[in-house]
């Protein structure tokens, strides 16, 4: 795992730490990628500098410069439920909702995703189509780069070891400009893209295309723009012929590889299909379905060695410094209701609420819990009575082996805390990161419906 775990008190402090330990240190917020990399041995142990408790870095704002700004701590969940993004960057909202499970989206930041730089990454593609820039800061200064120039190869960027990404910005789309994002995976959310595509179309009052951008993911070593395809759209009405031509050119511009998910042939052939559908979607500006609301964070920017677990303070001892939150809860707090299923954020059995948000405890460093509030399955009962959702699970026979049940209940409890009357789609999304191999989910959904009904 990691070597040292630093919790700087300010951005300057973080820059100092980074400079002092570079290149053997990493800035972390969600740490959802890093823990898996450590666990699989694909990353050598290094120091972690956790900036999640620095205030003011998690804002989504519309600047005087006409740009939407995303702070480095903006999570996928925050962007997905942001009104500002829905209005000015629909493709980004769509992409954020395709990333990982809800528990991952609640922790993982967009900035972190940009730096991981996977060619199949979900959020780089829309940000590229939105013409985004990134601002990097080190002790020696600040620089701003176009995102399109930021990537130099597979998982390689221009970020220097002593730099922190402090801002993501892109021009807010006006009333006549629309964006769309589409992804083809083996299956839905948690699957890595076989191909993904984001487009932006701006048209004047006469319906003539004045600006077009097409970004493609998983079809080249880095996320790419299809400039030729963009060019043929300009000056047209984005009619079927123009869209088909653009789609063909986009397909021709790709240089995909074959891997476990798809062959190069398939990727090449799917690119025009996706581009055509994405352009059509942008043209029609298809509305978004409201995502499940995110509960208000109870995070506090305080530094203390203790973590309030289910209302009781537990010290995150030095001996727990290298544990995940999951192991700390099970081993140091003796709270064994939270289960380990995969240890890599895929199954959701370890879901707990961190400052009110469902997270995968297997991907949270235990020291991150210092100063935080954690709720586990053991806190759901109210006196002698089961939580209504627990009771509904019992009543609806939603429990088979019971191993995934605590995680499902925590995802569900958070949902009902923030939305007493969730829609069917919101329920499904809220538990989409909790895998169950026994039930087929039907009884579980029935239990949710029972609680919703009782509260209606």
């Amino acid at each position: 795992m990691w070597r040292d775990y630093f919790e700087p008190a300010s951005l300057e402090n973080a820059l100092d730490l980074l400079a002092a330990h570079a290149p053997e240190a990493r800035i972390v917020a969600g740490a959802t990628d890093l823990i898996v990399e450590f666990d699989r041995g694909t990353r050598a142990p290094c120091a972690l500098i956790d900036i999640t408790r620095l205030p003011g870095l998690d804002a989504i704002t519309l600047g005087d410069d006409g740009c939407v700004h995303l702070g480095p701590l903006v999570t996928h969940s925050a962007a997905a439920s942001s009104e500002l993004c829905a209005q000015h960057a629909r493709a980004l909202v769509q992409a954020c909702r395709e990333v990982g499970a809800p528990q991952i989206r609640n922790r993982a930041t967009i900035a972190g995703n940009l730096i991981t730089a996977s060619p199949a990454n979900d959020t780089i593609t829309p940000l590229m189509a939105l013409d985004a820039t990134v601002t990097l800061r080190s002790r020696s200064g600040t620089r701003t780069l176009p995102l399109a120039k930021f990537y130099t190869g597979v998982r390689r960027t221009l970020l220097q070891p002593d730099e922190i990404l402090i801002d993501i910005a892109f021009p807010a789309l006006g009333a006549h400009a629309h964006s769309a994002y589409l992804k083809l995976g083996l299956r839905r959310a948690q699957a890595i893209s076989v191909v993904n595509c984001a487009v932006m179309l701006a048209r004047n009052d006469a319906g003539v295309v004045t600006d077009a951008r097409i970004a493609l993911g998983a079809v080249a070593p880095t996320i790419m723009r299809a400039y030729d395809a963009e060019g043929v759209l300009l000056g047209t009405h984005a009619d079927e012929a123009a869209i088909t031509r653009a789609a063909e050119l986009a397909g021709a511009a790709t240089s995909p590889i074959s891997d476990v998910r798809a062959s190069a042939d398939y990727r090449r052939d799917m690119t025009p299909v996706l581009v055509r559908r994405a352009l059509t979607a942008a043209l029609h500006n298809e509305p978004l379905v409201a995502p499940a609301p995110i509960p208000a964070s109870t995070a506090q920017h305080i530094h203390t060695a203790a973590c309030a677990v289910n209302g009781h303070n537990f010290a995150v001892a030095e001996s727990a410094e290298h544990k995940t939150l999951l192991r700390w809860l099970r081993e140091d707090c003796d709270l064994t209701g939270t289960k380990e299923g995969c240890a890599e954020g895929e199954c959701g059995a370890c879901t707990v609420l961190l400052d009110g948000h469902p997270v995968m405890a297997c991907l949270v460093p235990a020291p991150r819990a210092r100063g935080a509030q954690v709720r586990t399955i053991e806190s759901l009962e109210q006196g002698d009575a089961l939580h209504p959702l627990q009771q509904a699970f019992v009543d609806c026979a939603a429990v088979q082996c019971g191993y995934c049940t605590p995680g499902l209940l925590m995802s569900g409890a958070a949902l009902f805390d923030s939305e007493p009357q969730p829609s069917d789609a919101q329920i499904r999304e809220a538990i989409s990161g909790n895998l169950c191999r026994c039930t087929g989910y039907y009884r579980i959904l029935e239990a949710f419906e029972q609680v919703r009904g009782a509260r209606g």
Partner: protein, 1028 residues
């Protein structure tokens, strides 16, 4: 603060609180012999021997040990002292003389004060080797005993003194006299009369899913709509009325008995109770698909601080076995050893480590130096059988491999009639090849076990298993302990699905405990679950079908059916024979056909080993068969349902291949006694509006979408005929509640609940009066385990028999109580035992007077002719009554991308009487979604060197909650005369029909046939392009 003490010869530092007693510290540090009897130094149970270490150089002789009470001593005060506890007196391999004498002299009753008494004796005998009785009494005067009256402890200490000083031969005085109780054994249980009936007349139709919405609990009540299948033409059995037309607990959606604790996250699983002093195990696995271990050096690993044991093939005995959790004798081949000098797949076991922490154990694995001679590997089973292919099992001591030089594990052939002649006679023939992939069980709880020696030096294995009794029998020879020295405990299990029908990791964990004398915890990582546990056998199949014209003008008649199966059993043969023979049985069972042949090769390759996975050969075979039937319908010009209906089996039919295709041995003839297939089809097809499917095929608004519906017949078995056995013990408590002890292994399926319902029904009590306890080899009777869809039928059958015996015992007591007026009327009632009905927690006489079961239990236990009302019964069956199902899939295909979206799955299942409709339909729902992964997305994919490319849940992909289609489970109720309360199985049949139904639906939508799963977008896209 930190104190430094020498305890039992070991120098240790303990972090202690300022106010902590030495007793508290010692217990916390696992010295459990130190007992808490009081807090005031009065009882002496917390005694240990202690002496101060010498602090001045002048002292020549060491100060003697003295017994002190630790409950009144602050730990901080003993810094620098030397302490002895009973843990140091003897170990598993040998007891000290004092300990032996305490045992031999019967000095131990409850045993609570014994440790301190023995320490007091030791202090005495060290100082005074031949004490007087008074000196002995004085020495132990500080240790109170409430059981023995001190006589035998004193004798024991005197006996020990005599032995130590050589004055005594060592033979203890013999105070014991064997007394044989003069009670007659319990009468043998009545055999269950073989039923001759088929259907009860009040067959109900229970609908679940959308039809009932959230009112499912209410909907559990069977409707009484009459439904009788009159299809059979071959000697329809007589109709019988159900013996119990009305049930109170059976047939109800009772809440699962373990649901509340699981919903509360209470510690219920193996890993929820860490053991004091527990070590953590880690596994070193092979990076090569096929290699010989030229040398292996664990020196550096063993030198790593915190490492307690490193075991390689040099360190464990070479005992040949087969790991499949199956009945004795395990089906061949026996081709495994705990650790070998050869590896046969990436992920194969190389070495195992026990260390203070998991991290240290992992680091130690990396420090093991292994030199491999990499050998050519083979992954394709056809290639593996060719001359010149690498020989995977070249070891001389493997047993019963058919032809190891060709990697051929088994060759199976079974035939009825003359298939070649019948194919030549047929008016239509069709031959198709199908391929199915390797998939993994992915239970959310990985394999995990803990092993330790208990206070009787018996090895306890607490393990997440489906087969605790098989584990006990199978692990014994591997670790060199007799079965009687092993106890296997199964707590709650976080899913098995066949993956835990293995003795998979318990042997290595036990070896580590043997090596270290410490509790050891061993859990597979998720990656190891994929690479080093078990999976489903990939197969290549060839089906040949021949049909003759129907002289009556109906759909053609199946005349010949030939099935060839090439099963890939990977590196080892576990389950390889039986999974493939089940494929043969299931591929040839569901249609009437006078000429059938099954031929099969089971072959080694260098992929991780397949094993048991829900369905067990049936999902493979029924995929091939049901796709072939669909293609045949097209060729013979028949409706796909009509062709099936013309040919499917009916009640009264014999399964012609059942005797030839037993599980690892000859099977037993099978006659179908209950079959609701016709009703299943009517219900399922109506649910998807089958007749109007053509009109939905094209949606003008979405030109790239095609919609289609596909269907498949499913048929399974219920337990393994003549092989599976389960037993149950039922004991009445003196409040009228009952303990039910079964070996049947609830792994989340709800079998504890179902068995409890059967008992409650039989005894006229609510389920809440039944206390279920399952699967502990010390406490529960034998059961083969949770597999082969057997628990309701076999364990439930045993529980019903035991409950019936208990019912008779209760009636006998009730007769006596009625006669003496100890009943509700207060007047004597003369009543025959058989007239007494048990209902509502009462024994009821015909005149309406009653005796409450609680009163009756107190009477029987405490008042007259006192005895324990209790019975044990076993159950096995030569029948394996098949459940039937109609599986329908309603799909959309994106013809531009190849994406298949399943809109709806409907499965109508005849599982006999569903003892618990909620748990039964839960099986259907969960099974259907696992099966949907098989059809669409799940596949273990390897690179050219045999390395698994997707050994994680992420890239492997099992279904998440927001990806599932609409699903409807329909329970079509028949009455199975051989089953408890009419029940058959439901656990595996949901796995069998989804893949063919989806593939047939994709054909219905697109006109393109697929012969291989999973139907990934790219595979479908290629198929569509090839056609275009």
């Amino acid at each position: 603060m930190v104190i430094h003490i020498t305890i039992n010869g070991q120098s240790k530092d303990f972090v202690v609180g300022a106010n902590e007693t030495l007793m508290s510290v010692l217990r916390r540090e696992s010295y459990y012999s130190v007992k808490h009897g009081c807090e005031t130094g009065d009882c002496g149970a917390c005694g240990v021997l202690m002496r101060r270490l010498q602090t001045t150089a002048g002292d020549a002789a060491p100060q003697p040990f003295a017994i002190i009470n630790t409950c009144v001593l602050l730990a901080a005060q003993v810094d620098g002292a030397e302490i002895v506890t009973v843990e140091s007196l003897g170990d598993r391999k040998g007891l000290s003389v004092i300990q032996q004498c305490f045992i031999d002299n019967g000095a131990i009753q409850c045993g609570f004060c014994t440790p301190a008494q023995m320490l007091a004796a030791k202090a005495l005998l060290d100082k005074t080797p031949t004490p007087t009785e008074d000196e002995v009494r004085d020495a132990i005067s500080g240790v109170l005993c409430r059981c023995t009256g001190y006589l035998k402890p004193v004798q024991a200490i005197l006996n020990a003194a005599a032995r130590i000083s050589g004055k005594d031969s060592g033979a203890p005085p013999s105070p014991f006299k064997l007394v044989v109780p003069n009670s007659s054994p319990v009468d043998a249980p009545e055999g269950t009369a073989p039923g001759i009936g088929a259907f009860r007349q009040d067959i109900g139709d229970l609908r679940w899913g959308n039809a009932t919405g959230s009112e499912s609990a209410e909907a559990a009540r069977p409707e009484t709509e009459t439904q009788i299948d009159m299809q059979s033409k071959t000697g329809m059995p007589e109709f019988v009325l159900a013996p119990e037309p009305q049930t109170v607990v059976v047939g109800k959606a009772e809440k699962k008995v373990d649901a509340a604790k699981l919903a509360q996250g209470k510690p219920a699983f193996v890993d929820d109770a860490p053991l004091p002093g527990m070590l953590h195990a880690a596994l070193l696995t092979s990076p090569h698909a096929h290699a010989r271990i030229v040398s292996i050096d664990a020196t550096k690993a063993r030198a790593l601080p915190g490492v307690h044991a490193v075991l390689t093939h040099h360190d464990v005995p070479r005992v040949i076995y087969a790991s499949g959790g199956q009945s004795y004798p395990n089906p061949p081949p026996w081709d495994q050893v705990s650790l070998d000098n050869k590896v046969r797949h990436v992920g194969d076991r190389v070495a195992v480590v026990a260390a203070e922490t998991y991290e240290i154990a992992r680091r130690a694995c990396e420090l093991i130096e292994v030199e491999y001679e990499v050998l050519p590997a083979v992954f394709d089973p056809d290639e593996a059988m060719k001359p010149g292919a690498p020989m995977i099992h070249d070891e001389p001591d493997a047993v019963a491999i058919r032809d190891a030089s060709r990697n051929l594990v088994h060759y199976v052939k079974a035939q009825v009639g003359d298939v070649d002649k019948a194919l030549a006679e047929s008016d239509w023939t069709i031959e198709r090849e199908y391929r199915v992939q390797q998939v993994q069980q992915v239970s959310i709880e990985p394999h995990i076990c803990m092993t330790w020696f208990d206070e009787d030096d018996r090895l306890v294995i607490r393990t997440s298993t489906q087969v605790p009794f098989h584990v006990r029998r199978m692990v014994a020879p591997l670790i060199g302990l007799p079965v009687k020295k092993i106890r296997v405990v199964k707590p709650r299990v976080g899913g098995g699905f066949g993956g835990k029908q293995e003795m998979l990791i318990e042997d290595l964990c036990a070896h580590l405990t043997l090596a270290t004398d410490r509790p050891v915890r061993f859990e597979l990582t998720r990656e190891e679950e994929f690479t080093s546990s078990r999976s489903r056998h990939p197969q290549r199949m060839v089906f040949k079908l021949g049909f003759k014209k129907n002289p009556d003008g109906g759909a053609p008649i199946l005349h010949a059916l030939s099935q060839y199966t090439l099963g890939n059993t990977g590196a080892y043969g576990t389950h390889g024979l039986t999974v493939q023979t089940v494929s043969g049985l299931r591929g040839t069972a569901q249609y009437r056909c006078p000429n059938m042949k099954f031929e099969c090769h089971v072959v080694y390759t260098n992929i991780p080993t397949p094993g048991a996975f829900r369905g067990y050969g049936a999902p493979q075979a029924e995929f091939g068969l049901e796709c072939a039937m669909d293609e045949a319908a097209q060729i013979v010009g028949a409706d796909p349902v009509e062709l099936r209906r013309q040919n499917w089996v009916r009640a009264g039919d014999a399964l012609l291949m059942a005797r030839q295709l037993g599980e690892g041995r000859e099977g037993f003839d099978q006659i179908i006694r209950s079959c609701g297939l016709e009703e299943c089809f009517q219900q399922a097809l109506a649910a998807v509006d089958w007749d109007n499917r053509e009109q939905r095929r094209i949606d003008p608004a979405r030109p790239h979408i095609r919609r289609g519906v596909g269907v498949a017949v499913s048929m399974h078995g219920t337990a393994i005929a003549g092989l599976d056995m389960g037993a149950a013990s039922i004991k009445m408590n003196d409040d009228g509640s009952f303990n039910v002890l079964v070996g049947g292994t609830d792994i989340g399926t709800g079998s504890d609940t179902v068995v409890g319902q059967i008992v409650a029904e039989t005894l006229g009590i609510p389920l809440e009066d039944v206390i279920m306890y399952s699967s502990d080899t010390d406490f529960t009777p034998f059961d083969t385990g949770a597999y082969a869809s057997s628990t309701t039928y076999i364990t439930g059958g045993a529980a019903k028999k035991a409950a019936e015996q208990v019912r008779e015992q209760i009636r006998e007591v009730a007769v006596h109580m009625f006669l003496h007026g100890r009943n509700s009327s207060g007047k004597p009632v003369q009543v025959d035992a058989h007239e007494i009905v048990l209902r509502d927690r009462m024994a009821m006489a015909p005149d309406g007077s009653t005796v409450g079961l609680g009163t009756l239990a107190l009477f029987a236990t405490h008042q007259e002719n006192q005895h324990q009302i209790m019975a044990t019964a076993s159950h096995m069956s030569y029948d394996s009554p098949p459940p039937f199902a109609c599986q329908v899939a309603d799909v959309e295909v994106d013809i531009e991308t190849g994406e298949v979206r399943v809109l709806r799955l409907v499965q109508a299942v005849d599982c006999g009487v569903a003892i618990n409709p909620a748990t039964a339909s839960g099986q259907i729902e969960g099974g259907n979604i696992q099966a949907l992964g098989y059809a669409l997305s799940e596949e273990m994919v390897y690179d050219a060197d045999g390395k698994l490319l997707n050994p994680r849940i992420g890239p492997y992909r099992i279904y998440a909650a927001d990806e599932i289609p609409e699903l409807q489970a329909i329970l079509v109720q028949t009455y199975e005369p051989s089953g408890p309360y009419g029940a058959k199985a439901v656990a595996e049949i949901p796995m069998d029909g989804v893949a063919p139904a989806v593939v047939n639906a994709v054909y219905d939508a697109t006109g393109v046939r697929f012969h291989q799963i999973p139907l990934t977008p790219e595979r479908v896209w290629r198929g569509l392009n090839m056609q275009a």
